[in-house]
């Protein structure tokens, strides 16, 4: 029996391939969300998603 023919290797392979695909998909997702957020030009601070007041249109006082 070849050592690499044992079913333990196929399970290990399925785990590695699965995890690889999940990580790859996650990278693509973060990239897509980043592109969307940047192209939508949200006037927000990225770290806490609050409106950045300096970017908002000025309103006249009084």
């Amino acid at each position: 029996m070849r050592p690499d023919s044992h079913e333990i290797y196929s399970r290990r392979r399925s785990r590695n391939v699965g995890l690889g695909l999940v990580l790859g998909a996650f990278v693509l997702l973060v990239f897509a969300v980043t592109v969307v957020k940047l192209t939508e030009g949200q006037k927000m601070e990225a770290f806490d998603h609050q409106y950045r007041t300096s970017l908002l249109p000025k309103t006249e006082e009084n």
Binding site: H6, Y9, S14, R15, G18, V33, V36
Partner: protein
């Protein structure tokens, strides 16, 4: 021991495959979570980019899966003695408990943080609370200690549409609270119907489900009572921004049928149920799944009608 001799041996721990880990995340529960969260998100009718919507739903699904893994880690002893759950990854020896705990914790934190970054803090906060509620309040505390376990624990399953709504709007409103109430009040009669014909399973596991702790007569009374409370709560969304005449008509039919089923169960006793092998109880349980699914389909239909301006101009609203 050489590598060749080790791989040739049949004894020893079985190494998990990718599918075994996926099973830890309770994919069937995840499907319902994703569906209700998506309806909550789209019903909000707030402008949301499809990529953000997809990312938000993914986070909610992963969060739900993580709480499922934590539940399996905690409940492995109960799962092992119940027929319905004996084949789960931990009791069947495919995944170790420690792995389930690690996966549950890592994915929980990951899903909440990513939802905060992808959508907003309100949605992320609700997701964090849902995971905490399901894993700690329900699984660790209520499930083994009170027959009211699923009454309170049902809140965990009721949060997803509220989270979806929060992803789209950044807040909570009467509509999202009503969607929460619909699932919350639906959960007890749904699970008590299951417990009626799976009574021996819960007895063996020592889980104090209502039929085990208080008897089947009390359970049948409770099912009818909850169906009566559920009906107005399920019809009320018709008079909010997520409802309309189509929802009202559909909800009326569904609730009459649900009440009819609950009434039928109330009139039966153990002898009648055993005589036909719990036919009515099983039918009511099956219908309850359809009942919830169709309510959310009706909300989705109303959302579609609003999008193409087919909603009536004058429709009574609660606020």
């Amino acid at each position: 021991m050489t590598d060749a001799s080790w791989v040739g041996a049949d004894s020893g721990p079985r190494e998990a495959g990718f599918g075994d880990y996926l099973e830890l995340l309770k994919p069937r529960v995840m499907r319902l979570v994703v569906f209700t969260a998506a309806v909550g998100m789209f019903a909000a009718s707030a402008p949301i980019h499809p990529v953000i919507a997809f990312a938000g739903l993914l986070c909610i699904a992963v969060g739900a899966g993580a709480s499922g893994a934590l539940n399996m880690w905690w409940d492995w002893d109960i799962d092992a003695v119940m027929r319905r759950t004996a084949g789960r990854p931990i009791p069947s020896g495919r995944v170790e408990r420690g792995e389930a705990l690690a996966i549950g914790l890592v994915l929980s934190v990951f899903a909440v943080v990513m939802l905060a970054l992808f959508a907003n803090m309100v949605a992320a906060g609700l997701l964090a609370f849902t995971i905490f509620f399901y894993a700690v309040i329900y699984s660790m505390w209520l499930k083994r200690s009170t027959p009211q376990n699923i009454v309170i624990g049902g809140a965990a399953g009721a949060f997803p549409p509220m989270i979806g709504w929060a992803v789209a709007t950044g807040g909570v409103s009467v509509e999202s609270v009503l969607m929460f109430a619909l699932i919350f009040l639906w959960t007890p009669p749904h699970f008590w119907a299951l417990a009626l014909f799976r009574n021996d399973d819960y007895t063996r596991a020592g889980v104090p489900m209502l039929p085990v702790a208080a008897g089947t007569r009390v359970t049948r009374n409770h099912i009818l009572t909850y169906a009566l409370i559920l009906a107005p709560a399920a019809i009320l969304p018709a008079f909010t921004t997520i409802g309309g005449p189509v929802y009202l008509a559909g909800a009326l039919v569904l609730n009459v049928m649900f009440l009819g089923g609950a009434w039928g169960l109330w009139r039966r006793n153990d002898a009648m149920a055993e005589a036909d092998r719990y036919r009515a109880e099983k039918r009511f349980f099956g219908f309850s799944i359809l009942y919830l699914f169709l309510h959310f389909v009706l909300i989705l239909i109303e959302t579609g009608l609003r999008a193409v301006d087919l909603s009536p101009a004058h429709w009574p609203m609660l606020s």
